[in-house]
């Protein structure tokens, strides 16, 4: 090209040369094109070859990928298969030994399964299936049988309930027969029905009292009185009702404070009433005595305080009247005081109640006693409630405790009633100045007793406190004044009667008004008279049960006054007149000992007086 250029530049000179050059150039151009063409074709071929090889490689690559993918897939499958937990493993199969023993041959195929675990498992599964099918069939059969039996039961039940009206009729018809034979089954059944709703202590009391009545004491009878429906309501929802109550209380309180300010006192009063609530059912125990009088005991249960209380009533066959001083004897408030020593029934025996009372501001339970009844300790024991903190005692509970106290308490109750009735009679006669001495006790006294009782009245505790030392009397005792007279001599006797008469002797304290005043505190002979009357219980109590004690004591007092006055030495301030009290009693010796005591002891049947 350059040459051509060069040529061309220099070309003008040589035109021929230009043509040769031009032909050379064109040949060169054709060769160049051919070379270019060749180069292009070579390039193209090379490319094609490369392309082909590449394609071959790609195919192979793809195949490789496919295979790899398949491998991976297969691996996953394999791992899945390996992890696969067949349900059959969850089934508890019987152990192999049992299986081989029990399964029939076609299932167990031992010749195959012994070698092959897979077959063994299959066989076991088969066997399992077999067994389950059998059991399912059995189950179906049992169900069917059960249905049949149910139906039979239903039928029988219907039959029985159809009998019910018939039986009722028979029961009604048999009532007159029951009464005639005195076997009140119907009544007892009804009572048993109601008894189911009694609170536990009352139930224990009922059972024990009824048992005791049947076994030992025909004159004792027990009844239940009160509102059964309320009791049922109480027992039906004890917890719910409590919760409801507390909720409703809370609501009520809120409402109250919103509407009007209810006074604190009223709220407290309500709380107190709620605390002292009685169970709607109560027991009535009747003790009949031979002379026709009856002691009615009403037992109540205070639910929140968990104690029993008792109220009494006495009904007598004959009308008791006339004895003014006997007013306190049968007073229902004090009739059962101190049945056992120091059992006053004024305070609640349950120590837990103290805390409850503090919450509602009750200071003494004694205020409510007249309303609610007396919570004596023996009542709690009869109901099986044990509050005593005395650890030394055997700890009985419930029925055992009740049973152990029942007999003794009933006897004491009956004795108390009889003693009080006897005293009542005696008092009415004493008020008429007659000392009723029964014929069995006549031997204690001489035939002629000149001193006589002129007055018998009641006294109060305040008047009495100065007469005797405080350790001997207490507020629950009854106090009386007796006046015995003979001629100008008057003997005043202050009598202390313990509620537990006649177990505890009445105490006499004497003072004599005769030519001056002397009392048992100052004079030895009057003291000896007191001891004669107070100490010798075995002689004075008379035949059992010892109800003659008081009257015998008074009679002895009269006899002793006779002796005292008759044996008094000739006093007279110098005057020698006739004695006011001539000596009529026979005495061995009128004075003995340094204190010159008079002979107060009467000896029967010789009829003389001697010293002890």
């Amino acid at each position: 090209m350059f040459h051509f250029y060069h040529v061309s530049k220099t070309g003008s000179e040589r035109v021929n040369d230009a043509d040769i050059c031009f032909i050379q150039c064109s040949v060169h151009f054709i060769t160049l094109k051919k070379l270019n063409r060749l180069a292009h074709m070579r390039l193209k071929k090379g490319r094609d070859q490369t392309h082909e090889a590449k394609q071959r490689v790609d195919v192979l690559h793809l195949q490789l990928q496919n295979l790899l993918y398949e491998v991976m897939h297969l691996q996953k499958e394999i791992s899945k298969c390996l992890e696969f937990k067949s349900q059959h493993e969850e089934i508890e199969l019987v152990s192999e030994e049992e299986f081989f023993q029990e399964a029939p041959a076609e299932i167990s195929r031992p010749h195959v399964t012994r070698d092959d675990n897979h077959q063994l498992t299959l066989a076991r599964l088969d066997w399992e299936l077999e067994q389950r099918k059998r059991l399912a069939e059995q189950y179906k059969m049992s169900l069917a049988r059960k249905e049949k039996i149910q139906k039979a039961i239903e039928q029988k039940r219907e039959y029985l309930s159809s009998l019910q009206p018939g039986l009722q009729n028979i029961m009604q018809a048999s009532l007159p027969v029951q009464e005639y034979l005195s076997m009140p089954f119907e009544q007892m059944q009804k009572q048993a029905e109601v008894a189911r709703h009694l609170p536990p202590p009352l139930y224990v009391l009922l059972v024990q009292a009824a048992a005791y009545g049947q076994a030992c004491d025909k004159t004792l009878s027990v009844n239940i009185s009160g509102d059964v429906d309320e009791a049922k309501a109480l027992s039906r929802r004890p917890e719910d009702s409590q919760e409801d109550e507390s909720d409703s209380d809370a609501e009520e309180e809120q409402q109250n404070t919103k509407r009007r300010r209810a006074t604190v006192g009223v709220q407290l009063e309500d709380k107190r009433k709620a605390m002292l609530r009685r169970h709607p059912l109560s027991l009535c125990v009747d003790l009949k005595c031979k002379d026709g009088s009856v002691l009615h005991l009403f037992f109540y249960y205070l639910m929140n305080l968990n104690i029993l209380t008792v109220k009494t009533k006495v009904s007598t066959a004959t009308d008791l009247s006339g004895a003014v001083s006997a007013g306190e004897l049968l007073n229902s408030e004090s009739l059962l005081n101190c049945l056992y020593a120091s059992d006053h029934g004024k305070e609640t025996p349950n120590p837990a109640n103290r805390y409850q009372f503090d919450k509602v501001g009750i200071t003494t339970f004694a205020d409510y006693v007249s309303d609610l009844g007396h919570p004596y300790v023996w009542v709690q024991k009869l109901g099986g409630l044990q509050f005593s903190s005395d650890g030394a005692q055997v700890c009985l509970r419930g029925s055992a405790l009740s049973a152990s106290h029942m007999e003794k308490t009933m006897k004491l109750l009956r004795g108390r009633l009889q003693a009080r009735l006897a005293l009542h009679k005696q008092f009415s006669s004493l008020e008429h100045s007659i000392i009723p001495v029964s014929s069995e006790c006549q031997h204690l006294f001489p035939a002629k007793v000149v001193s006589g009782l002129t007055r018998w009245t009641m006294m109060s505790y305040q008047e009495f406190t100065h007469v005797l030392k405080a350790g001997l009397v207490c507020e629950t005792d009854l106090f009386f004044m007796a006046v015995v007279e003979r001629g100008t001599a008057r003997l005043l006797a202050a009598v202390v009667l313990n509620p537990r008469y006649p177990e505890v002797m009445p105490l006499f304290s004497l003072s004599l008004h005769w030519k001056g005043e002397r009392s048992g505190r100052t004079e030895d002979n009057l003291r000896a008279m007191e001891s004669e009357v107070n100490v010798f219980r075995a002689e004075l109590q008379g035949p059992r049960p010892g109800l003659q004690l008081l009257t015998n004591q008074i009679q002895r007092l009269c006899v002793c006054l006779d002796v005292y006055l008759e044996t008094e030495s000739q006093v007279c301030d110098g005057s020698e007149g006739p004695r006011e009290f001539p000596r009529e009693k026979m005495c061995l010796r009128t004075a003995r000992g340094p204190s010159r005591l008079k002979p107060f002891k009467y000896n029967h049947p010789q009829g003389f007086f001697s010293h002890r």
Partner: protein
Amino acid sequence: MFISLQLLHMSVFSQSFSPCGRFLAAGNNYGEIAVFSLSAALSPDASEASQKPILNFTAHDGPVFSLLSTDTHLLSAGNGEISAWSWAELIKKVRISCSVNDNSLIVGGGDNNIHIMDMETGIFKSVLKGHTDYIHCLCFKEREEEILSGGEDGAVRIWDARTNRPVHCIEVFKYEECARPQFGKWISCLATDSDWMLCGGGPSLSLWHLRSMSPTSVFPLPGCQREAVFYQDLIMSVGEGPHVSHCLHGGTVKAQIPCTPSSLNTLALNLKNSEHRVMTVGGSSHQIDVFTNFSYRAFSLSF
């Protein structure tokens, strides 16, 4: 505190101190004898319990009217019988009645006679008759060996112990200054101190000079005296009324010390033991008052 009925109606009739002077025996109307330990009761740390008897036993059926201590034994007299108890055993809280071996015991009885018993053999040696009614009290004059006895018949008789014959007889109620007809003529207490004699009872308590057989002073004590003793230059007597009377020989009443029982039956002085020199009185109460200083009551022992 509940006082039982028995305690309420108990009376102490007699007392006696043990030979060593550390114990007191007291007899009551129920026939019981209680032995108290004086050393425990008088010690500085005495308590309620030390005022109770260390031993209490029933000696007789009837009241124990007199107790007497010899050197080894305690003699108690009840209704018709005399028992002897050994002090050594009593102190050990055991009671056995056994025989004694001492001199003679003079017993005044309800049969109006005085019996003298030989304590070794227990046989009655002699009887002194003369009283017309039963005998209340006896005392013995050692120097002249004379026995004095006073009785219900109002006479004080003096007997010679060696010859057992009556020497004198004084009828106290016949003397104007002593006689108290409103009470009676019985003599219930006698005490003698060589030449002097105290006697009292129905008639007023009076001091007599034995040589002249006449009363020298009469004590104006209101009630009947039941026991009187000579002590140093004082005369102490107890009787009706809740006090111990201190009197002088001249006839004046120096003091009247109040006591618990409402009337007193017995007075005893513990002179044998100088540590526990006390006076004890008992009467119509279950308590026995103890006087450490004779002018006031220190404390009471109780049955």
